[in-house]
Every structure is written in structure tokens, then in C-alpha cells.
Amino acid sequence: MHYIAISKEPLDVNALYEKVKDPQFGGIVVFSGTVRQWTGDVETQEIEYTAYESMAIKELTKLAVNIEQKGANVVIVHRIGRLKLADEAVFVGVAAAHRAEAFTWCESLIDELKQHVPIWKKEFDTDQIRWGGPA
């Protein structure tokens, strides 16, 4: 199975973990990206995420189905709106029969998401506002 969402509400990591879990698949790998306070010397206070929602869901679904067909459950949810420090921006969960695959697939999903899926962050740092975060 796969489950994809763009969420205006805080991510419920536990509920998403339970969603990806499956007695068929013994290895579960979850990546979550949270709002980090420091990036080098830059201090972040808040991040606002926006998305081209319909296309983001379409792109994420393509990525998920591609992995699901190899034999896995895939759950990807990205938050939008204003996030505070330590809030989850993204959850990527993969359940597979073998752990090496679960790791590889989970990492490739978040890599692809970051490269191609139309979602943007506007970072409110203590010194300035940055689209896309510190260079």
C-alpha cells in the first residue's frame, strides 16, 4: 500500500508509523525532517512551507508507487504552513521484507522529494528571511 498527503496540521508520527507497519514486512525505516534551530551560524525561528499541492501529490504518488511495486509499503506526508522549531516537516516511511532495501528505498524517496517535488520553504531566521534556507 501507499499513502500520500500534504498536511496543514502537525504530523502525527505515531499514526503514520502505524500506517506503514505491516506483518508482511519485518523492516521499517522512517525518515523525519524537523525544523532545525541552527544551520552553521544561522538561527532559524520558523519555517513556512508552501506547495503546488495537486502536483506535489501527483509527483509523490509516482515516487511511492515505483517503490511499492518493488514490494513495500510507502507513507509520505509533507506539512505545509507555519512550522515551529522541532516540528516535523516531512515523514517518509518504508516497510519492506529486508532492512537493506527499506533503508535504500526510504533514502531515495526523501532524496527525490527534495530534488523534484514542488514544495518550498521560506525560512524566518534571526538575521533575515530566506527562501529555500541558508545557501
Partner: protein, 79 residues
Amino acid sequence: MEVKLFAILAEQLGDQVHLKVSEPITADKIKQAMVAQFPQTMGVIKDSMVAVNQTFVTTEQFQAQQVNEIALIPPVSGG
């Protein structure tokens, strides 16, 4: 045609702009029309992708009637 904008482009110009693009419609022509009409976006547009009907396009050609939705996609930064 109406072109959807996001992120820094939407902040500067609103959610959508109207551009004149002749057939066959291509990603390059959309970007050129954008820069011609809004020269201040040149830096961002250079790094942006074009999506037609919610799919990234590069060299594909379209007739107007094939196009339901065009969007300019500045460099993404999700995750």
C-alpha cells in the same frame, strides 16, 4: 494564458499571471514570455522548471487546447 506562480514568484507577483505565448507552446517560450513581461524575475526564472498539466516539461511542444494548467516551478526546497 494563465500561468500559476509559487514561492518567491507568487510573493512578488501573486498566484497567477497572464502571459502571451504562441503555439506550439514550450517551456522555453513560457520562460521567455515571463522574463519579457516581468524582467525582475529573470534570475529566478533562469533556475525554474515549467510544468504543463502538473508534469515537468522540457522540450515537449503543446497546442493551446492540450493545456489545462501551466505553472512556473522555482527551485524546490521541501523536506
